[in-house]
């Protein structure tokens, strides 16, 4: 007899529908699973047999063939166990078949028949709704995650028995709200996903120029580089960008939560704040952009819709940094390997921090002991094309404690400014399909960046003085537009352009020594 169940497998960021067909017929007792299954799926045979027997059902002593269709998609993970077990029960006449067509099943089985959670419940729920399923049955631990998707019933199944009850038309188990679960939910709501603990901008004393640069970077989602001696507060400042970024929109939140649910992080609610990823500089290119193993997701993908912070930028290996070039340009990363290829979204703002020279103290009086050749070598570690994608550079300087100024602003004030600036940008760029200034191309710049008379003159003389390349000019205009937005100015005024020019990133990183 034949039975068919519906399940899902995760391939990169895509969720693939898998129909699980089980055929039970006379013959020598055997259980074969075909259809490009990985080790975890092939091992399911033993789990399923034990779970069925331990739950008081009968495991048919006949020839069982399970086919996972489509046959050309690799199936990974233990999430198919539940569907396989139910299909075996249905095919051997122990369960009715008709509900199997409408209820998708997702979960790993224990030997005693309990249902365990599997990674990616949110993505699976999303796919189940799109595939027209009425319901998705899964383990209590990941049910809340799936419930974030509207228009899909989520019966909770703790045990193979409960699944059988659901498939016979009954209802699922009650989802008990444990106190621990409630606490977890609140954390998930408040904390940025994968964050280093934030902090408030008011804790940054002095460095007003750099604080302003970070606010500008947050407002326009610009890529920024902070350069300064050790101890000037680059890292401290960069970490506080999470506290001034605007919250995610609903669509962005689903995207972010889906990505993070695939990494196995327990998720109880939609992510509300933007991701902030700060990988260590020993990271490999594969770690940064995603690798050859299926479903290994890179840091830049996890930073999608948020911030990627690279501390000690010059210490990252050259191939790692070069791997960032395409995603910085396109907002996505296409990975092709022998066995699979995948495209992941990766639209993030890059915040990087670096020292100005090998000893770290260039420009701090006489403390720097680096020769010109050493400086040149150090600067060469950051390639030109990489620097070309950085919109603004802020230099931080050592400040004597007694001369240090007070904080420029609190996070709440900055967050407010940023939110208003983002709103202006979104309204202005609504018809272009982008939401932030940093995504404006040359054509949009011509259309939306209006200079007043004095700034027009300044731009002309900057061109004449050879300070701006064509690309550099675009960057300066984007940043100037954001600065004007922070002041809610319709036109870009001279002071906006002046600040953008002072923040332009070529002079000292690229080296402006005599020759």
């Amino acid at each position: 007899m034949l039975a068919r169940a519906h399940a899902f497998t995760i391939d990169g960021l895509q969720t693939r529908h898998v129909s699980v067909e089980v055929d039970v017929r006379a013959g020598l007792p055997a259980f074969a699973i075909v259809g490009l299954a990985d080790t975890a799926v092939r091992e399911a045979r033993e789990r399923i047999q034990a779970a069925i027997l331990n739950s008081g059902y009968e495991f048919p002593a006949r020839r069982i063939t399970a086919n996972l269709a489509p046959g050309d998609v690799r199936k990974a993970g233990a999430g198919l166990d539940l569907a396989l077990a139910c299909a075996v029960l249905a095919a051997s006449g122990q369960l009715p078949c008709d509900e199997l067509e409408r209820v998708a099943l997702f979960g790993e089985l224990g030997l005693d028949g309990t249902v365990r959670p599997a990674h990616g419940a949110l993505a699976v729920a999303h796919a189940a709704r799109r595939a027209g399923m009425r319901a998705l049955a899964l383990a209590p631990a990941c049910a809340r995650e799936a419930m974030l998707i509207d228009g899909l019933e989520v019966p909770v199944v703790e045990h193979l028995h409960s699944a059988a009850r659901v498939l016979s038309g009954g209802c699922g188990d009650a989802l008990l709200e444990s106190p621990a679960g409630a606490a977890r939910k609140r954390i998930a709501l408040d904390e940025p996903v994968g964050s280093v603990a934030g902090g408030d901008l008011s804790e940054v004393h002095g460095q007003h120029h750099a604080v302003k640069a970070i606010v500008i970077a947050a407002a326009g989602a610009h890529n920024a580089l902070l350069s300064g001696a050790p101890g000037t507060g680059k890292t401290m400042l960069a970490q506080r960008i999470t506290s001034i970024l605007p919250p995610l929109s609903r669509a962005e939140a689903v995207e972010v939560t889906r990505i993070h649910s695939l990494t196995g992080v327990r998720i109880d609610a939609l992510a509300m704040s933007r991701p902030f990823r700060a990988p260590h500089h020993s990271i490999t290119p594969a770690g940064l952009v995603g690798g050859a193993t299926r479903g290994s997701i890179g840091e830049i993908v996890l930073a999608h819709n948020g911030v990627l912070f690279l501390d000690e930028l010059s210490e990252f290996s050259r191939p790692t940094l070069e791997a960032l070039r395409q995603p910085l340009e396109d907002g996505r990363i296409a990975i092709a390997r022998a066995r699979h290829s995948a495209v992941y979204p990766a639209r993030f703002a890059l915040i990087a921090a670096t020292n100005p020279c090998p000893c770290g103290f260039a420009g701090e009086g006489d403390r720097c002991s680096c020769s010109e050749a050493e400086m040149a070598r150090y600067r060469r570690r950051l390639s030109g094309p990489m620097l070309d994608r950085i919109d603004l550079l802020a230099d931080l300087h050592l400040e004597a404690r007694e001369r240090r100024a007070t904080a420029l602003m609190t996070s709440a004030e900055a967050c407010d400014q940023v939110a208003r600036a983002r709103e202006l940008q979104a309204v202005r760029l609504a018809s272009e399909g982008v939401t932030v200034n940093s995504r404006m191309d040359g054509r949009m710049l011509g259309r939306y960046v209006k200079l007043d008379e004095r700034s027009e003159r300044m731009l002309r003389s900057a061109r004449a003085a050879g300070l701006l390349s064509a690309r550099g000019e675009h960057r300066v205009l984007r940043v100037a537009r954001t600065i004007a937005d922070l002041d809610a100015s319709r036109r870009v005024r001279a002071c906006d352009l002046g600040a953008a020019l002072a923040l332009r990133p070529d002079a000292n990183v690229a080296g402006n020594r005599a020759a």
């Binding site: 300087h397 300044m458 002046g498 002072a502 002079a507 020759a515």
Partner: protein
């Protein structure tokens, strides 16, 4: 003196002087050994050919002497781009006539141009290779001002001060003389290639070694002889007290040229050498005009007519008063936006003013993003 005819093709230098050049490159190894003692190296280089051979050739003396006797000018590798010129030619710089200077030079950029450049008063700019931003800017603006007033600037082509000096001369739109420590075909690191090419297009590069002779330490020390002998004034822009950095200045002093120095901060190790020179009686240089004063006081002929107006000088008097205040503040040490803000300027106004001053060329950004006045006067 085997073939006099062969010398004609090499634009001037006589076979005897070319043979000297060949001899030096053949003795490069032993001379490198002697370079550990700077004074001894200079003594050796002042010896006539045969005595030099006896003194340093060691076991190879007999073989080299035989090759020396048989030497023909066309044995010397020849590069059509280069000309050679010796003290028996008409255009050879008169300043190099003494026994301490080399008898011949290979010239990139043309012997005629070298003659023209050295006919004007020559000022050598010396200084550290690991210069600070201040030193680099001073060297550049000195070279720019001097070149614009018709003075020829000479310097080596090593990092730091020397490179800034050539860049300053090129800013003024005229040539400088680069004195190289190795053959002209090999003496340039890839990093300096484009500057070398610009210098030889406008001015010239000279070396006493054949064009394929690799760069070594002794060659660099030997080239300091030329830098010491050529000028009437040598200006040390920035140097610490290590023997290498002030030796060229002492050498020049010994040859009777006026040594001047740019003062630096007394706390900076990079300025200890120059400050010590000033202490010992070197003339103080604040800008090109001080060097010009020294030249005239030394009774030099009037410089050629002005080559061009001083470059990069939007007359500072034309500045709006607001901008001039900022420029003065930056010159006085408030060289970052935050420093200016602490001094009472509003941050966005400070950024605007800094950008405007940078656009007019009065400020540049240096190490660590600090702003520097371009003409420190």
């Amino acid at each position: 003196m085997s073939s006099v005819s062969a010398t004609a093709k090499l634009a001037g230098a006589c076979a005897g002087c070319l043979r000297r050049s060949w001899l030096l490159s053949s003795l490069s190894g032993p001379l490198e050994y002697c370079a550990r003692d700077r004074a001894r190296l200079l003594e050796l280089l002042a010896l006539p050919d045969r005595k030099l051979l006896e003194a340093v050739a060691g076991r190879r003396a007999a073989e080299l002497r035989a090759r020396y006797e048989r030497f023909r000018a066309d044995e010397l590798p020849h590069d059509p781009q280069l000309q050679s010129i010796c003290r028996h030619c008409r255009g050879y710089p008169r300043a190099l006539d003494g026994p301490a200077a080399p008898p011949m030079l290979h010239v990139a950029g043309g012997a005629a141009r070298l003659a023209k450049l050295t006919a004007a008063p020559v000022v050598t700019i010396l200084g550290s290779r690991a210069a600070s931003d201040y030193g680099v800017q001073m060297a550049r603006s000195l070279a720019r001002g001097l070149t614009a007033s018709g003075v020829t600037v000479a310097a080596s082509l090593t990092d730091g001060i020397a490179v800034a000096a050539h860049a300053g001369a090129l800013d003024a739109g005229a040539g400088s003389v680069a004195v190289m420590g190795a053959g002209l075909g090999v003496s340039c690191s890839p990093r300096r290639r484009s500057l070398y090419e610009r210098v030889t297009r406008e001015g010239c590069a000279v070396s006493e070694l054949p064009h394929d002779c690799a760069g070594r330490r002794w060659g660099l020390l030997a080239s300091e002889r030329i830098l010491a002998a050529l000028p009437s004034v040598a200006v040390v822009v920035e140097a610490d007290t290590s023997p290498g950095e002030v030796a060229a200045a002492r050498n020049a002093q010994a040859l009777g040229c006026t040594v001047a120095a740019v003062p630096g901060r007394v706390t900076s190790p990079l300025s200890r050498g120059t400050n010590a020179l000033l202490m010992a009686g070197a003339s103080l240089v604040r800008g090109p005009h001080d060097v010009l004063d020294l030249l005239y006081a030394a009774g030099e002929p009037q410089p050629r007519e002005q080559v061009s107006a001083p470059v990069g000088a939007t007359p500072q008097n034309d500045l709006r008063p607001g901008l001039r205040v900022i420029l003065e503040r930056v010159g006085a040490g408030c060289d970052t936006p935050d420093e200016l803000a602490r001094a009472g300027v509003e941050l966005s106004a400070a950024l605007l003013a800094l950008s405007e001053l940078e656009l007019t060329g009065l400020l540049v950004r240096g190490d660590g993003g600090r702003y520097l006045p371009r003409n420190p006067l």
